[in-house]
Amino acid sequence: MINTSTFLCILTRSTIAGAVVAASVVIGPASANKDPVTPKQLKLYQEAFMEEVRKGDLLFHGDAAMAEQLGVKLSTTGWACAMCHPMASDTHPQAFPKFQQSMAKFATLRDMINWCIEKPNQGEKIDPESEAMKALEAYITWSNTGSVLVPGKY
């Protein structure tokens, strides 16, 4: 059952998504990077990014509806990513890629996300190219905005 507010909310988000698609069609991939960027474009790009951050935030905090929407099962134990990583603390996206002792291999942040899904959370690994993975990556990196890149650091 969708109430009016929910509908309006979906409508707003659809409008944003639609606007991004429309902008890419109107402006066109061939010329978009040759013209000076406009505030309107910047706003659209930022909104597209923050929409992924929002989805990632919800997934990271165990939101069942968002997991279902994106077709992923990130946990079977009740545990969510944020329970060990409040505000994505201690995820250290700025340190990847690096040798990850727990996996005994040179790993990316996406490898680490999948490791956490599979081991502590006992969920199902997700496709590294999936929207869910990109959304998680968007949230984790956004939340760590301002951290200094230290790739490889233990």
């Binding site: 507010s5 929910t6 909310c9 923050m50 951050v53 929002r54 989805k55 935030d57 919800l58 905090h61 939101d63 134990t77 009740g78 545990w79 944020a82 329970m83 060990c84 990583h85 409040p86 505000m87 994505a88 603390s89 201690d90 250290h92 700025q94 340190a95 727990s102 956490c116 081991k119 502590p120 956004w142 939340s143 760590n144 905005t145 301002g146 951290s147 200094v148 230290v150 650091k153 233990y154």
Partner: protein, 381 residues
């Protein structure tokens, strides 16, 4: 956010940690004591910190007791229903067995809150069932996870009054309720009990606000409770949250820490033992010592700012080992004026950092609050 935190922290330092004021002068600074004198009056980076600390897993605080005794602390078990999560159950079983095996036995157990994860009747009853195997006297204080589904109804039926006091061998013990006085964030937004609990159960949530507090009425009760107690005799206060300002965005504090300090200021031997933070913490606030305890469920990382300079950090844990970084504690009150807290961290010989790389903050981070829980339909006006 950081500017505001800095302002509060500076105020706390000025009000509560004036030069020359320390807990009980009879404290002996020895090799067994992990507070290094040179660290009391200046800043220390992680690198400086680890270099100074002796390699010991005990905390010494000064107290006088009529006779030596020990008690045990377990908290933050965060039990789900058994069918959903057996790991958390296994860890409570292990802690209970180990406390039961203490020799000489502990005089009593303090359960420091967050028995349940989502405040469900089944979760709280599972906790009671698991702790039943422990035959010593048990005292309970609530955590926010126990409370906000039914506003403490089931918890009260099981454990009674959330704040209490008793005297034991020359020490006055006080249990505080620091969780039940959260400002109403649910009525105006027409939340269901489950939604209210969900926001409360999210440590980094932005909707439940500054819920941790002692409250005027309980402060008055504490003042009355202590009125007949000699100001130089030992007091041990249990609370779920730390009684000072560590990191408000995760409610690692009580919002009325100033008033708490006003009540406790006249007493010279106060130790506060708290849960909630799921990590080793040590601080001195005026004449009070504050000690943070491990969870049995999972460890929290240290907050990105505000970790007390007197804290010798616990070791960075292995996320692949559910028994790492968690455990329980024994507290010994000795006749020679000392209270020792020993962290029993499963799977570790060394509880504390041994090198900068052992610290979870060896990779410096700047983090920010989440966004998705504060949009539709929970947006604040």
């Amino acid at each position: 956010m950081s500017d505001e935190l800095d302002r509060i922290r500076r105020e706390m330092h000025a009000v509560l940690q004036p030069p020359g004021v320390r807990p009980d002068d009879s404290l002996q600074i020895t090799r067994r004591t992990f507070i290094h004198r040179s660290l009391l009056f200046g800043a220390a980076s992680v690198g400086q910190t680890f270099a100074w600390w002796p390699l010991l897993n005990t905390i010494d605080v000064a107290h006088a007791a009529e006779a030596p005794f020990k008690f045990a602390w377990i908290s933050d078990t965060h039990l789900y229903e058994r069918s959903l999560n057996t790991r958390f159950v296994d860890k409570v079983v292990r802690a209970v067995q180990e406390v039961q095996a203490m020799d000489p036995p502990a005089d009593f157990l303090i359960f420091g809150g967050d028995l349940a994860q989502l405040g469900k009747i089944e979760e709280l009853e599972l906790g009671v069932e698991l702790l039943k195997d422990l035959k010593i006297k048990k005292y309970y204080i609530p955590g926010e996870h126990d409370w906000y589904l039914d506003m403490g109804k089931k918890w009260g039926e099981l454990f009674g009054q959330p704040n209490w006091t008793f005297d034991h061998k020359g020490v006055r013990f006080i249990g505080l309720d620091t969780v039940s006085r959260g400002p109403d964030y649910w009525t105006a937004k027409k939340m269901t009990p489950e939604e209210r609990m969900g926001h409360m159960a999210t440590l980094d949530g932005t909707v439940a606000g500054a819920w941790a507090g002692v409250g005027r009425e309980q402060l008055d009760w504490m003042q009355k409770t202590l009125a007949d107690w000699d100001k130089s005799k030992p007091i041990v206060i249990f609370s779920h949250n730390p009684l000072y300002e560590y990191y408000p965005p995760w409610n690692f504090w009580v919002r009325d820490w100033r008033e708490v300090n006003d009540v406790l200021k006249p007493y010279t031997k106060v130790t506060n033992i708290h849960g909630h933070v799921h990590q080793v913490l040590y601080n001195e606030i005026g004449s009070m010592r504050s000690i943070g305890m491990l969870a049995t469920s999972w460890p929290w990382p240290y907050a990105p700012e505000g970790v007390p300079k007197l804290t010798k950090p616990m070791i960075r844990v292995d996320p692949g080992d559910p028994f790492d970084g968690v455990g329980w504690e024994t507290v010994s009150v000795n006749a020679d004026d000392k209270v020792d807290v020993e962290y029993i961290m499963w799977g570790r010989k060394e509880v504390f950092v041994q090198s900068p790389e052992d610290h979870d903050k060896s990779i410096e981070e700047v983090i920010r609050p989440r966004v998705a829980d504060n949009q539709y339909p929970w947006a604040n006006p």
